[in-house]
Amino acid sequence: MNTGHMRWGFIVLIGFGLLAPVAGIYPTFLMKCWCFALFACAFNLLLGYTGLLSFGHAAFLSVAAYVTGHAIRSWGFGPEWGILAGTLSAGALGYVFGSLAIRRAGIYFAMITLALAQMLYFVWLQMKFTGGEDGLQGVPRGALFGVIDLSNNTNLYYLVFVIFLAGFSLIHRVIHSPFGQVLQAIRENEPRAISLGYDVDRYKLVVFVLSAALSGLAGATKTLVFQLASLTDAHWHMSGEVVLMTLLGGLGTVFGPVVGAFVIIGLQNQLADKVGSWVQVIMGLIFVICVLIFRRGIVGELGRLLKRPL
């Protein structure tokens, strides 16, 4: 396989990540983008490479956000342990949701994940420690390993970027491993994968848990950046937004979700002051246009022009 263009993609990505804050782009905005980029990549692993459309991924983002926030704020965890706790809890939740949901396919799969995520939303609304609709605020950023002060934006930025890169590389590794090849086989033709002797349910469950845990990693990191976890993370809008990011960037492409996340977050940021809640309508329009005109997404179309998968 020709991986030269992939390498270039990585170089551009890392170069951009390292230089963007120096070039004067507002770091907190960038951190938000990286968190959502990781979230979208994790989602893409499931939808783009395994063909499973989960409509409840907000659940994993939110469980990690709340657990991390609570662990750091109330139990005095360091940021690294907080993020770990959040990621693990999202993975565990992914196991529970996944075991139930993979018994069905297609629209039923999507509906089961949506239903479970909605149940979780109401759990968060009722629980004491989440602060209900007020959210969980005032999470201290603390110091990484007790040494690196994270209240400094530059330090935190590079931590977030490293976390993103780690998650992103892991996903890239998974996709190009034999395991990933089996996933793509399942996506293309599930009965055939079964007839070849693969335990498809097992593969689906593993990738579901992996995707949930990585979404959790994104949610946990986001809590650290904004120092709060709120119901927005758990709302089904969030599950829809991540679908939009992935589709807009390019389903089943490595870099697509990253581009999609930057475009969507950037638009929301730019438009929030000007049009307020109309942002939702504009996002809907973009979705329609994307589906009608360039179904492969930004990176997907680019890859087609270059005749190379990106």
Partner: protein
Amino acid sequence: MKKKLMFMAIAAAFLGMAAVVPAQQAKLSGGVVKIGILTDLSGLYSDLSGQGSLVAARMAIDDFLKQEKNPFKIELVSADHQNKGDVASNKAREWFERDGVDMIGDLVTSSTALAVMPVAKEMNRVTIVNGAASTNITGKACTDLNVHYAYDTFALAIGTGRAVVKQGGDSWFFLTADYAFGHSLEKDTSDVVTAMGGKVLGAVRHPFPGTDFSSFLLKAQASGAKVIGLANAGTDTTNSIKQAAEFGITPKQSLAGLLMFITDVHSLSLKTAGGMYLTEGFYWDFSDATRAWSKRFFDQHKRMPTMVQAGIYSSTMHYLKAVKDAGTDEAKAVVRKMKDTPVNDFFAQNGRIREDGRLLHDFYLLQVKTPAESKGPWDYYHVRQVIPAADAAIPAAKSECPLLKK
């Protein structure tokens, strides 16, 4: 002759300048006082805050510059937080870090206020909450750089609860939104009702947000309680009021809105809302001073001010005066000055900002007029009772705010 006049004028101008210059120049970050109004410009709460909040803030700045003869430059910025805590905290951080905003005002809905306050504390800037209602803002989550100006749920729920029992409404049934806010509103109010010798016959929880309240309202009707307390907010409240009217529950049983604004009454119309009790921290038709200011506001905004919008004007003015008197826009010094200076204007008489940041001022128990009683547009309330400032706030001894424990 002309030359002489000109000379005199110039001399006078110089003298004037000389008189101004020695008056201590305020030390300002970035050479300007920058005020950010973070509010709901397009959603559910844009009626009670929104554009009207911006109008009020702009009025306060203009009036201040006129009264004090342009002591320093003031800039106003605004943004829509869409009632989301994360959007609000994001914007606040950006304003503080990048744009040098000194004070953020309004913050309607508690999640946004509670999200912005710790950020402001960390960056040493001021927050003045007008729109949000949670008692946590000056309770568990209080900071020494925050002022909670217009109202909180304690004042509204307790005020209404106590006063309604006194007026003879001694048996209650609650219609409660099933989440933390609704529960706390129900609990606070029932405590007061029972303490005053009234009886709570029961409560029913409706999902949040709700649209169909019929089964809940029928339960409330069957309870036979004299008063149905609405422990919910926003569209939940207005919808339950409308449906209560359709079921003929009112006027046989009366409704008590525990969190309502004049804009809610305006959109419900007096026909549906007439007879209800509610509490507000400001009513435009209360005194000559409130009428005068509200008329000016009405000329610009075409609607009468809510207590939030009136609070924005009053608090922005109080803040700017504190900046001038403290000679700096450094947060700690300004808030200290604000707490040391009593507030005396159309909004509050002898108002005092307590250490936890809560402005202590009078509240009004109001009854909504029936269409026959109303004499004109926006003539909506009878003022039934003035609730003194001391009764309208959580007593210092019971507060969860560590700043009051000193």
